[in-house]
């Protein structure tokens, strides 16, 4: 009895071990060699622990930001970064999230097998974010154990088919084929932006006829562009708060230098966290893909958004800039109506903004991409502000979810759970 207890609670209770075992099963199912099974299993274990280490770095950097923001402006500033909050949530809900993700894969395969929607969602990190929002919101709504995992897994699995299906009419227009679908949980934002672009734009004047300056291309290096934005986000409140507030943290380092390095430290955290995610998914995604393609004939892989970038590279830059303008406007606008100040999340602004730019260019040309982008920026700033009260204890780390579909699921799921309580 005590041995069983040891296995179930002490061994499998550790999310890192559980995930490594899931990867191991996947590797066995693909009939990999013993050597590959061992290295793949340990790589996955390593990945999960690297992810947690990244989350710790982020939490430290955010604590400092929260403090200077509070003292400087007398209000809360919350960063939107889905990876960061997912990392933080894994510290306590890792097991639930892992099992929701596995169940979501199964639900995805079943829907694709038995309906005419043949989409197989292959963007592993997006699946992880979706599983995280389901576990966090479900947990805060009072669900526990099996109930939480089953409900979360079914929701996440359905989203994995519904969102690519929703995007496909415009993806077809962009790529000119039905070979690939878009698997990225920002689809609701893309569709809304495309709607605005269609109403306000002129499809005959494409972004791709423009000549954009070469110097903007560094923005494609996401960690660099993130740093460019995080530096003022840290330095401005630090200047307002003054050296006394910083002194408690800085151990004698000049307050501006300290704050500058903290802003870079935040990016370091995101870098480490995503390196962990990469290791974590390296074995799980190919296993899922292999199994899915065997079970589902004519499966359409739903892939991460940058696969669309080469089709309209100018639209990516324009969408990114206009979304960022919208999110900065929203940052100042929404606190006026009593919502938290949401600081722009650069990863989402780049990937979601860039893809939204491609979508709106396809239906509304360059004017559509610009106007739609500003609107998109406002939307992705409003949604996290609305979600914040539902996050409970998970919202206190000064970071929240980004990605419109992930938040929309959180909002709908959270309010339904609250309604029944």
């Amino acid at each position: 009895m005590s041995f069983l207890h040891f296995i179930v609670n002490d061994v499998l209770g550790q999310a890192s071990i559980l995930i490594a075992l899931i990867a191991m099963i996947g590797l066995f199912a693909q009939k990999k060699s013993t050597g590959q099974v061992i290295t793949g299993t340990f790589k996955t274990l390593l990945g999960f622990l690297v992810l947690l280490a990244g989350a710790n770095i982020i939490v430290n950097a955010l604590n400092f930001l929260g403090e200077v923001f509070q003292k400087g402006f007398n209000m809360r500033g919350v960063v939107t970064d889905v990876g960061s909050i997912a990392g933080i949530a894994q510290q306590t809900l890792g097991r639930e999230t892992a099992l929701i993700m596995v169940l979501a894969f199964i639900v995805n395969i079943l829907i694709a097998r038995f309906t005419r929607y043949k989409y197989i969602f292959l963007t592993g990190q997006a699946s992880l974010w979706m599983a995280t929002v389901c576990s966090v919101i479900g947990y805060m709504g009072g669900l526990r154990g099996t109930e939480l995992i089953v409900i979360g897994g079914v929701i996440a699995g359905m989203m994995a088919v519904c969102m690519p299906a929703l995007a496909q009419p415009i993806v077809r227009k962009i790529t000119g084929s039905d070979d690939i679908a878009l698997g990225h949980f920002c689809t609701i934002g893309y569709i809304i932006q495309a709607g605005v672009a269609k109403l306000t734009g002129d499809v005959s004047k494409s972004t791709e006829d423009l000549e954009l300056p070469q110097s903007l291309s560094f923005l494609q290096d996401t960690y660099l562009s993130m740093m460019v934005v995080m530096i003022p986000i840290y330095l401005i409140p630090t200047v307002v708060a003054g050296p006394d507030v910083v002194a408690a943290y800085s151990k004698g380092v000049n307050y501006l230098v300290f704050s500058f390095l903290q802003s870079v430290q935040f990016v370091v955290g995101v870098y480490v966290l995503l390196a962990g995610v990469r290791l974590l998914l390296a074995e799980i995604v190919p296993a899922f893909r292999g199994i899915a393609l065997r079970i589902v004939p004519n499966a359409v892989p739903a892939l991460d958004c940058p696969v669309l970038f080469p089709y309209a590279p100018n639209a990516v830059i324009i969408g990114f800039i206009s979304t960022t303008v919208g999110s900065v406007l929203g940052m100042f606008l929404f606190p006026w109506v009593g919502l938290a100040m949401i600081l722009p999340g650069m990863l989402t602004n780049f990937f979601a903004g860039g893809t939204a730019g491609i979508f709106s260019n396809a239906v509304g040309g360059r004017r559509g991409a610009i106007i739609g982008g500003v609107f998109h920026g406002l939307l992705i700033t409003l949604l996290p502000a609305l979600l914040l009260p539902l996050l409970g204890q998970y919202g206190f780390a000064n970071v929240t979810f980004s990605d419109s579909d992930v938040i929309s699921v959180g909002l709908v799921f959270g309010h339904i759970l609250n309604f029944f309580h």
Binding site: Q125, S217, Q220, D304, P310
Partner: protein, 99 residues
Amino acid sequence: MKKLSILAVCGAGLGSSFACEMSIEAALKDLGVDADLSHCDISSATSTRADIIVTGENFRSQFQHYTIKATVVYLKRLVDKTEIKTKLTPILQELGYLA
């Protein structure tokens, strides 16, 4: 002969480079070439020692800032197996991995 290493690269090193890596794997299987495959972000790519780097056309200007020993392949469609095969074949022949 040293085992060939190929690196797929995108902006964050998570999604599309991974999808690209899986397409490269399929392409190499057709060509009968065995290689170590991995994927990463563009900042890390410049400091790794791969023989061949595969990335999107949109990153061309980024890569031209650096001197990289690896042969860089730019793709229009990151997951197009045919394009990958067409562009990799001459390089593999030059490096001696393909007759």
